[in-house]
Symmetry: C2
Subunit: 314 residues, 2 copies
DNA sequence: TTGTACGCGTTATCAA
DNA sequence: TTGATAACGCGTACAA
């Protein structure tokens, strides 16, 4: 018991004894067993993080930010890669729960009802990230993808673009929200043409962006702007444009989404929507930490906003 | 006890009783406690993975591959982000050990002696990834960065390039090995000029690649090829070349390293070394699984090789 | 400041 | 096939 106290620095042990215990522990390579700690204290040092993929800068940044806040607090992240599948998400969550995590960070809101129930009935604090909700019973840190998309389209309209296409992939709820914003903004100006909407379920990639752009321009050569649901697709389009001899932004304006590192350095530099995912991760982790300490949080929803970064491509 | 047996499917429980137990468990939302399981059975379902960063496709791919193999086996990954720092790596490992993981996957071999000792004395099976070693006492899955770099330079030489520069960043051991291979190949042909070596400790990025390339060309306009330690840097250089009016590959040949997705689609398409990181992750996870089952592995070292993908930039 | 008794939720072991 | 008992390694609560 004294050893336990000494090593945990509760400050109730004689300093000399503490030193001695430390030395011996070191010598024996003694490291306390977390499982036993968790069992005895009935609190774990885990936080489960559910993200759709690791191989997308957006979520890698998010995860890294969360990890950077949580690890110094002695908290281990349990990663769950949903692969954009609600089924897998549910399985992942069930698995998480067996570790009795002290907190949960979940991407978006489009879980199965079952999954939501499990979260709620578990009583484990949960922060949703990337999107925001007007449901005041949930905690979230994110931004309005719909508003951001509207901002993009309005910007293009102000620049006198009239044939504005949308190219998206992956079919996740954030892409859908961007599509919705795109539609709203165009409809408001009687400029919506559903033929110019291209939304495929395929996994997003640079290569795909190039392909879809080529097809779009082949069919609708009067398109004078394309809003892509993310920067990867947009980069692919810019590469393809170079090959096709389409001038960006003279012939076609291009706007991406997320503002990944390379977008600031491409040729031409890309106009895009900056999504503060590192901030989202940081804020979500901090909010969760507070929730885990039983603190009351208000507001429950943090809108970190977005910023249209105007560069050269539009 | 019967419940425990029924839920674990040991097959010693009456089928009807098993069904009944299942139903009740479901109804109660009962999920067995992993901490207690670990404590009682003295074996955990954890594997610790040590990687230098999450925000680099290479390691994200690696992690995703490992996760995809391990999760279906009921194994949770403990992630440790070393940020390329041996100090943090040691702290991370100590933290891992407190979870009594059943296995370890560690990037490279450049750990502190202390760290290596901890791994060895822990008795926990460990597979090193990304590099290979000729030390036959360690398990590893990777490739020879040195050989790959030599291959790159030899290819450029065969293409009659003579003023071949090297631009690298991050200063991690893999970059250093590539630099070494570059030097060896050039020295073999009496073409080594240390002025054309640019190796900065800064974190690698597309932006940095552009900067370093611009500086290089400003100082040494006779450079006719640049070998970059990774594709991000090389992409940045290609963008910058477009701005500077330097024609790729006519004026300068460019070769990257890793073959990230976009390299196949950039303009021009990039010649680079394909590193099979998904395969590395998969193989390492499988090898670890075998080690965890006490199987004997031979050989202990798997060289997954590399492939020079010739496209347009060189 | 140190020590004792007990319990955390599960599994190993042995008995029924 | 099922059940009872004792661990697993620690922390909580209380006593010394």
């Amino acid at each position: 018991m004294t050893v336990s106290r000494a090593l945990r620095q509760t400050g109730q042990v004689n300093p000399e004894l503490t030193d001695k215990i430390r030395r011996v522990a070191e010598q024996l390579n003694y490291i306390p067993d977390q499982a036993a700690q968790a069992l005895a204290s009935s609190k774990s040092a885990f936080v489960g993080v559910l993200i759709p993929t690791l191989t997308n800068t957006v979520f890698a940044d998010l995860l890294e930010a969360v990890h950077n806040i949580l690890f110094p607090q002695g908290i281990q992240i349990l990663i769950g890669n949903t692969h954009y599948s609600p089924e897998q998400e549910e399985r992942l969550l069930r698995n998480f729960l067996s570790y009795r995590p002290s907190g949960l960070i979940v991407t978006g809101f489009d879980q199965y009802r079952e999954t939501q129930k499990m979260i709620n009935s578990s009583g484990i604090p949960c922060v949703h990230v990337m999107e925001i909700s007007d449901d005041d019973s949930v905690y979230c840190v994110g931004l309005s993808n719909t508003e951001a998309a509207q901002g993009v389209v309005n910007y293009l309209l102000a620049k006198n673009r009239r044939r504005i296409a949308f190219i998206g992939a992956q079919n996740d709820s954030r892409t859908l929200q961007r599509l919705e914003g795109y539609r709203t903004a165009l409809a408001n100006n009687d400029l919506l043409d559903s033929a110019l909407e291209c939304n495929v379920p395929t996994q997003t990639s640079v290569g795909l962006g190039g392909e879809l752009f080529r097809e779009m321009m082949a069919h609708y050569s009067d398109v004078d702007a394309v809003f892509f649901s993310n920067d990867d697709l947009a980069q692919g389009a810019m590469f393809e444009a170079l090959r096709l001899g389409i001038r960006i932004p003279d012939d076609v304006a291009i706007i991406g989404f997320n503002d990944i590192e390379q977008s600031a350095h491409s040729a031409p530099r890309m106009t895009t929507v900056h999504t503060p995912r590192t901030e989202i991760g940081t804020q979500a982790a901090k909010m969760l930490l507070n929730l885990m300490q039983g603190k009351t949080i208000s507001p429950r929803s943090i809108n970190v906003g977005f910023e249209l970064i105007v560069r050269e491509s539009a």
